[in-house]
């Protein structure tokens, strides 16, 4: 088990490293170097950068040196907590991102909890009551969840909320709470706004997990040991929950590792439709405006957070489900 944790940790580190290379590549991709772009922008806005300052900047970013030197310098600054300067906002990147990264994580995490919370009981129900009305209903909902990309779902929900209730369903805060300092009232406000986007985000993953859970459990329920347990007079709840469900969880768990990255990805796009104050809209705006330090930092942060989130969800699952510990070794 320790070996498994270490292996996961190493794999996580490799992933983080690869993401950092890709993020830096994204920063580098637009034509021209970013210091020239920065100087041009400063000059255009009426506060030109002196030649010495420009040279100092070039020196600092290692421009003109090979890719890996520039990458090393950039990584060094990041490790010291300096994410660079946003050209568009003319403020440090960390300030621009601010709370948004946490709200992104909160949204993805809420969606993760909803996915697990819904997929497990519904999957069990659908398998135990196979071909019942409830099973057909959930199968239908499941197919909708798979076929409707979540940004489309967000669009459709928004449209119907507008038509039926005349209300806008966007945002994570009500307008009077938007700029309020953090505290219980604001937190409560957030909690009231969170469920809808989280459910929209969770539906696709939930639908897939329900199908997996249902299929796995159906396989298990046909096994002779279930018949034996029943013949021996175990209560029906125990017959189902104690053995087959736990056995069916096995393949379920390997899919969960890929759920969190999927949710983080999805949160970007539904945030734009629903106008949520996460990093999604910021990222797209930064990319369109070629504000590369901001964009690169967001890609990097999202990647790192995803890796950490996936690692934690692996650990939690291992703690919850002892059979996995052996399975994964």
């Amino acid at each position: 088990m320790i070996a498994f944790v270490i292996r996961r940790l190493l794999l996580g580190l490799v992933t983080v490293w690869l993401i950092s290379v890709l993020s830096f590549a994204i920063i580098q991709l637009p034509p021209g170097d970013f210091v020239s772009a920065y100087i041009a922008q400063q000059a255009a806005s009426g506060s030109p950068v002196s030649a010495e300052a420009a040279d100092a900047m070039r020196q600092e970013y290692g421009l003109g040196r090979p890719f890996y030197v520039q990458y090393g310098k950039w990584l060094g600054r990041i490790l010291h907590g300096n994410l660079g300067e946003s050209m568009e906002w003319r403020r440090p990147v960390s300030e621009v991102i601010g709370d948004r990264i946490w709200l992104t994580l909160l949204l993805s995490f809420a969606a993760l909890v909803i996915t697990w919370g819904l997929a497990l009981p519904i999957g069990i129900y659908s398998a135990v009551r196979q071909y019942s009305w409830g099973d057909y209903l959930f199968t239908l909902v499941g197919f909708i969840g798979i076929a409707v990309p979540n940004f489309l779902l967000a669009l459709i929900v928004m449209y119907f909320a507008f038509r039926l209730f005349g209300a806008s369903v966007g945002g994570l805060f009500s307008s009077e709470m938007m700029l309020a300092p953090w505290g219980w009232p604001k937190f409560w406000d957030l909690m009231k706004h969170l469920p809808l986007p989280a459910i929209i985000l969770a539906l696709g993953g939930t639908a897939q997990l329900i199908r997996i859970m249902r299929a796995n459990l159906l396989d298990e329920l046909r096994r002779p040991y279930v018949v034996t347990a029943r013949a021996k007079g175990l209560s029906e709840t125990k017959v189902i929950l104690k053995y087959p469900v736990r056995a069916a969880l096995n393949p379920f768990a390997s899919n969960i590792a890929y759920l969190f990255p999927y949710l983080v990805s999805g949160s970007i796009i539904i945030s734009i439709v629903l106008g949520l104050p996460t990093v999604g809209p910021l990222l797209v705006k930064a990319l369109v405006a070629q504000d590369m330090f901001l964009a690169g930092a967001i890609v990097l942060l999202l990647g790192v957070m995803t890796v950490i989130g996936t690692f934690i969800s692996d650990l939690v699952l291992m703690w919850v489900e002892p059979r996995l510990r052996h399975q994964m070794d």
């Binding site: 197919f143 076929a147 990309p149 489309l152 990222l283 990319l287």
Partner: protein
């Protein structure tokens, strides 16, 4: 002479036949197959089905609501649509264009419209439906028009072609990468296998949309529509080949243990012959199933990227670009029909999913 029974037929059938027989039993998958074929026929004849030039904007026809075709005129079968007229708004004195129920414009089958080229083979201006004696601004607005007055139906037809082919091109690239890397992984094993498998795990644990967005945003602004189109497919495929590689590797490894592979080896068949003559037919059906499950993911990816304005760019037309117009609630309140573009996306993704499920069940006809 005795007629061959079903069992006899079963015994001598090829693998392809067996797969097809089993697939045919899956009703939903059969229906989905028909749907998918229809969609690709639309893609092939997009311009023929379009009723007006999908790129031509006209201020007169801005935000026209969907117009039905009226089939009977004075009791006779003479299909027509109403024309468009300009009315002076009494309050603002602005000229607004509305549907003129007083003027009928008759339809004709195989009428003439804008010039299009069929696969670059020949040029024609014949469309399925055309208008007789149309005035400027008149059109068959089956699904309404967008802000720039472009006919949504015609745009949807052309978008279908773009979105469906981008899926095909993307899957081809992924398939190439998947078969190559999955095959190498299985054949060589050892360190190579470990490296490729870890690479797959790493790619799968990265959030894809931010990376796609970052890469797509870096495409130069002066690239042509075609260049962007291929660049986007490559970007999507770079992260999408992993599932196919896993399928290929898994099948390869399990088949290697089969008796018929051993028999071929003992009979002195070369490595190449064993792979291509004996193993490939056995797992080709699995690959086809995996491909049909990968296609909808490709289509969603392209649609999402274009929807965010970082995929294909206008004047290209794809489902994502059409949906981009429906992005904010103000537009949707004004022109809810713009959301119609969501329907083909949903239908085609469902169809591919059912088709893939059916193929996967049928892929192993001996089971």
């Amino acid at each position: 002479m005795a007629t061959p029974t079903d069992a006899d037929k079963f015994a001598v059938a090829t693998q392809l036949q067996l797969t097809w027989w089993r697939f045919r039993r899956h009703k939903l998958a059969m229906v989905s197959l028909v749907v998918v074929v229809l969609f690709y026929l639309v893609a092939l004849g997009a311009d023929f089905l379009a009723t007006s030039d999908p790129h031509a904007s006209d201020a007169r026809t801005s935000y026209i609501a969907p117009q039905p075709i009226h089939f009977f005129d004075d009791g006779a079968f003479r299909p027509f649509v109403y024309g468009i007229k300009g009315v002076r708004d009494v309050k603002t004195f602005k000229l607004v264009y509305t549907v003129d129920t007083g003027r009928k414009v008759h339809l004709e089958l195989f009428g003439r419209g804008y010039t299009w080229s069929f696969l670059g083979l020949f040029e024609t201006d014949i469309h399925l439906l055309g208008l007789r004696d149309a005035q400027r601004g008149d059109g068959i607005f089956l699904l309404g028009t967008d802000q720039l007055g472009r006919d949504l139906w015609s745009r949807l037809m052309v978008a279908t072609r773009v979105s469906l082919t981008i899926g095909l091109v993307g899957v081809t690239v992924s398939l190439f990468l998947g078969v190559l890397l999955g095959g190498i992984s299985a054949v060589y094993g050892g360190v190579v296998d470990t490296v490729i498998q870890r690479l797959i795990e790493v790619i799968r644990s990265m959030p894809t949309i931010p990376l796609w967005l970052g890469l797509a945003a870096a495409l130069p602004n002066d690239w042509s529509v075609m260049q962007i189109y291929f660049a986007i497919t490559v970007i999507i495929s770079l992260l999408a080949w992993t599932d196919l590689a896993r399928v290929v590797r898994g099948k390869f490894l399990s088949l290697r243990e089969e008796d018929f592979v051993m028999a071929a080896e003992l009979a002195g068949a070369s490595q190449g012959r064993i792979i291509f003559r004996h193993m490939l037919p056995s797992f080709a059906s699995h690959i086809i199933a995996a491909v049909s499950l990968a296609l909808p993911a490709m289509i969603i990816s392209e649609t999402s990227l274009s929807f965010l304005g970082l995929g294909l760019r206008p004047p290209a037309i794809s489902w994502g670009i059409l949906l981009q117009d429906a992005q904010n609630i103000q537009t949707l309140a004004l022109a809810p029909w713009l959301l119609v573009s969501a329907i083909p996306v949903i239908v085609v993704i469902l169809a591919f999913n059912f088709l893939g499920d059916g193929l996967r069940d049928a892929a192993d006809p001996y089971g």
